[in-house]
């Protein structure tokens, strides 16, 4: 397929002018979904208008994808000095243009201040949030306006493809990816090269290559941010994969709730076609491949491979038994490689920097980096990319900045609804595929939900089982009926109707559901329950035996009370209580009628004297 066309394909890429020099002035402003919600597009418009007004229209403004530090949006990075400005408002723009862009001066109030040392930090790489990260895949977002393919070229985009087509046989590509030790980033952690090899050798034509962008875990948005922010990296990875397995047809399955991802991917595919990188005779070789976007309707189960195939085929998203693997019979019963978005985005990196470089990062069984979304009760909400093997502590405290309000860490939920909760005693756990599995959780797609001492672990398990109950496709009995019954029992426990023997019943059901379910959704559905029982059994027991919710969350098991020592009788709580549950004379200690109280928490919020407590 290749060999004699190497010069040709390199020449085509060389003709694409490199866009940015090291001294070039430009502003990267985050236009990811999070920052857009903060109003970053208005800030961008204001910036462009102001640049024109101050005669600096030659300064380029890049509306980039997610820059990761979502807590501090809208954010911008001003090159070449690389000043990192956070929480930028439209009103800041004239000053930014005049001082920073015009004269290279930093504006102190927009810079990040270290929460402990109180030192002002100038550049992205100085921030504790970014410092320990290794943003090999995700870091490129800051250099690219995803609607411009030239930006991707400027950071060596499609060079990996050119190299592959010019210098490597499909077998060599597979062996390089194998040597790198790339494992699937979507959940299971299956070695990518093994899949590729299987499809390459499988009988049957045509062969399909698919990117799974059906990210559905609550709180997870790394794939979204990759598709939005660097769509070409996913596309380039897929083209390389297609060349390796011998496929001419690819799909990107992306949920329709990700409109910006759909838009940016569509633009990127068109641009790639226009530049001879997709379609017939890619880069002048005899290799042809094209990609089609398939929009999913948002069912969680459609992230499961066989349900995803059914959905692309136009049928209801239901899984089927996979005793014959997708590698042999996948989409339309043809050999199919299905990899997650982040997995594909790693492929160009492996080709460009080499398998040895990739394999030098990470742990024995898990190579490279992984992007995690840090959400929940954490100071620095956002996306972090770290080498595999980074400890939970480093992620949550060094990068995440610890728990909001200085509260006590309780658990971190990893791996989405199919994952589990990890307690404080395991904070030193190096995060990789195998270690997470050992403690009863999983990598999943990389969601991390941080919980503090105000989270009830039974309630957390109840929440996830409720989610899974709603998202079960309903095909097989253990998942459809079993998850529903588990969810009902958990609801009972949280409502004070738990019975002796419920914990054991949940454990028995979990084992049978895991064994008996048709697909991985049901197979892993008991994980949130099993992991919380394993690490927080006493909380279950407190709910069932003592009718007590130690975290003060489950409304049926708590009461609101007033501390007579602290109450000044100011009467503020009386005014905010919607159900008139609080009574008392002015300047005398008030009382709460727990029959009327709905435990909404408004009184606690309103009390300046911390006189109201939950028991």
């Amino acid at each position: 397929m290749s060999g004699n066309t190497d010069k040709q394909s390199h020449a085509i890429l060389d003709n694409l002018t490199l866009y940015y020099g090291p001294k070039r002035k430009f502003v990267a402003i985050c236009a990811g979904t999070g920052c857009r919600a903060y109003g970053s597009l208005k800030v961008k418009d204001a910036l462009e208008a102001e640049l024109k007004k101050q005669n600096m229209a030659d300064v380029d403004v890049l509306a980039t994808g997610c820059l990761g530090f979502c807590e501090k949006g809208p954010m911008m990075i001003i090159h070449p000095d690389k000043y990192f400005y956070q929480s930028v408002k439209e009103s800041d723009i004239p000053e930014i243009v005049e001082k920073t862009i015009g004269r290279g001066e930093a504006i102190s109030r927009l810079l990040y201040r270290h929460p402990e040392t109180k030192k002002t930090l100038f550049r992205e790489e100085d921030l504790p949030f970014y410092k320990k990260q290794l943003r090999a895949v995700f870091g490129k977002n800051g250099m690219i306006d995803p609607s411009r393919i030239e930006d991707y070229f400027a950071i060596d985009g499609y060079q990996a493809l050119a190299k592959v087509l010019a210098e490597m046989t499909p077998e060599q590509v597979i062996s390089e990816v194998k040597k790198a030790g790339l494992r699937g980033r979507g959940g299971g952690g299956f070695p990518a090269a093994v899949k590729w090899e299987g499809v390459r050798k499988a009988a049957g034509e045509p062969k399909y290559v698919i990117a799974n962008g059906d990210e559905g875990d609550p709180g997870a948005y790394m794939d979204r941010s990759l598709m939005e922010g660097n769509p070409h990296s996913v596309i380039e990875g897929m083209i390389i994969g297609a060349y390796a397995v011998g496929s001419n047809h690819g799909y990107i399955y992306v949920r329709n709730e990700y409109p910006l991802a759909v838009e940016n991917l569509s633009k990127a595919i068109e641009a790639a076609r226009a530049n001879g990188l997709l379609g017939k005779n890619i880069l002048g070789t005899d290799f042809s491949f094209d990609i089609q976007i398939n929009k999913g309707a948002g069912a969680f189960v459609c992230g499961e491979s066989s349900a995803l195939f059914a959905s692309i085929e136009g049928r209801a998203g239901e899984p089927r038994a996979k005793y014959v693997h997708a590698v042999d019979k996948g989409l339309y019963d043809k050999p199919t490689v299905l990899n997650n978005v982040e997995t594909w985005a790693n492929v160009p990196l492996i080709i460009n920097k080499g398998a040895d470089w990739f394999a030098s990062i990470g742990t024995e069984g898990s190579k490279g980096t992984k992007i995690f979304s840090l959400v929940g009760k954490i100071n620095n909400t956002g996306l972090v990319e770290v080498p595999m093997g980074t400890t939970l502590y480093e992620i949550i405290y060094d990068m995440g900045g610890g728990i909001t309000g200085g509260r006590k860490f309780k658990a971190v939920q990893t791996g989405g609804p199919s994952g589990g909760c990890i307690p404080e005693s395991l904070l030193d756990l190096p995060v990789d595929f195998d270690r997470l599995y050992e403690v009863g959780s999983m990598m999943g797609s990389g969601g991390m939900i941080v919980m503090d001492d105000t989270s009830c672990m039974v309630d957390v398990a109840r929440y996830f089982l409720e989610f899974l109950k709603e998202e079960s496709c309903g095909k097989c009995v253990p998942c459809r009926e079993g998850v529903r019954r588990m969810s009902e029992i958990l609801e009972d426990i949280c409502a004070g109707r738990g019975r002796e023997g419920d914990i054991e019943l949940l454990e028995t059901m979990s084992a049978a559901i895991a064994d008996g379910s048709l697909c991985a959704l049901g197979g892993s559905a008991p994980n949130p329950v099993l992991s919380t029982i394993r690490h927080f059994r006493e909380e279950y027991e407190a709910h069932i035996r003592d009718h007590r919710c130690p975290a003060g969350v489950c409304k049926a098991l708590i009461s609101y009370n007033i501390d007579a020592e602290k109450c000044t009788g100011c009467g503020v709580c009386v005014k905010v209580c919607a159900t008139k549950a609080i009574t008392g004379e002015l300047k005398k200690v008030h009382t709460i009628d727990n029959e009327k109280c709905t435990r909404c928490g408004a009184c606690i919020q309103s009390c300046k004297f911390d006189a109201i407590y939950v028991k």
């Binding site: 209801a316 309903g474 009995v477 253990p478 459809r480 009902e488 019975r499 064994d515 379910s517 048709l518």
Partner: protein, 237 residues
């Protein structure tokens, strides 16, 4: 032919057949609810699970969908297997408390209802095995009924629960339904099913009502046989 060990017995089975057939062929009984002989397999009920051992690895598979393999060691009654079957039966008993078929089956398996589950009152006897949907699509070829909604809200029926023009009133769905959930009532002259009343054809020879007119029209269109010829019942033909 392939050789396997099933519950300690040496069993040979024809290549490209399913484990379920091999197990039953060896005289070992395996409960099933969704594996009807006239339709494709779906693996929905999970009752036919067995434990297989290949090398050092054991796993639970549905025998109705797992192809026979040389050297496979199969356990049809391991603890894990029985736990799955017990769970499935308990869940189905709670879903369809009225079903005598399920009660009898549970009794034969020595399984009692799990009293911790709240009993459903709105599901009838439908266990969502989808045999009806499959027979309507694969055998009859009209797809008048299908599945809609997701998870525990999933239901079988005609689109929007409205009488379906596609239905020919053949009653194949009733025939394959393992629990007797689907209602079909007949007055002789008419038959009522899925909310639609069908006119029945009287045999032009013996006068007995024997099939819905719509069904005969459908067969005529499909096979090219004239309606007159089809209007004679099978006994008089």
């Amino acid at each position: 032919m392939v050789n396997m060990i099933i519950d300690g017995k040496n069993v040979t089975a024809r290549k490209d057949t399913m484990l379920l057939e091999a197990i039953r062929g060896a005289g070992i009984s395996v409960p099933t609810l969704c594996a009807h002989e006239s339709v494709s397999r779906s693996g929905a009920c999970r009752l036919c699970v067995v434990e297989i051992k290949k090398g050092n690895r054991t796993r639970i598979v549905t025998s109705c969908l797992y192809g026979v393999e040389e050297g496979l060691i199969v356990n049809t009654k391991s603890e894990r297997v029985l736990n799955v079957r017990r769970l499935v039966m308990e869940l189905l008993l709670a879903r369809c408390p009225e079903s005598d078929v399920l009660q009898k089956m549970a009794e034969d398996m020595g399984i009692e209802a799990q009293t911790r589950y709240a009993v459903d009152t709105d599901k009838g006897k439908c266990i969502l095995c989808r045999s009806c949907v499959r027979v309507c699509e694969e055998v009859v070829g009209v797809s008048a009924i299908g599945l809609f909604s997701r998870g525990s809200y999933k239901e079988v029926g005609t689109p929007y629960h409205e009488p379906s023009d596609a239905c020919i009133g053949c009653g194949a769905c009733v025939y394959v339904c393992p629990t007797g959930h689907i209602e079909m009532t007949s007055t002789g002259e008419t038959r009522k099913i899925w909310g639609r009343t069908f006119k029945m054809q009287a045999c032009t020879k013996c006068g007995k009502y024997f099939a819905p007119v719509d069904q005969l029209k459908f067969i005529s269109k499909k096979t090219g046989t004239s309606i007159d010829e089809l209007a004679v019942c099978t006994e008089c033909r």
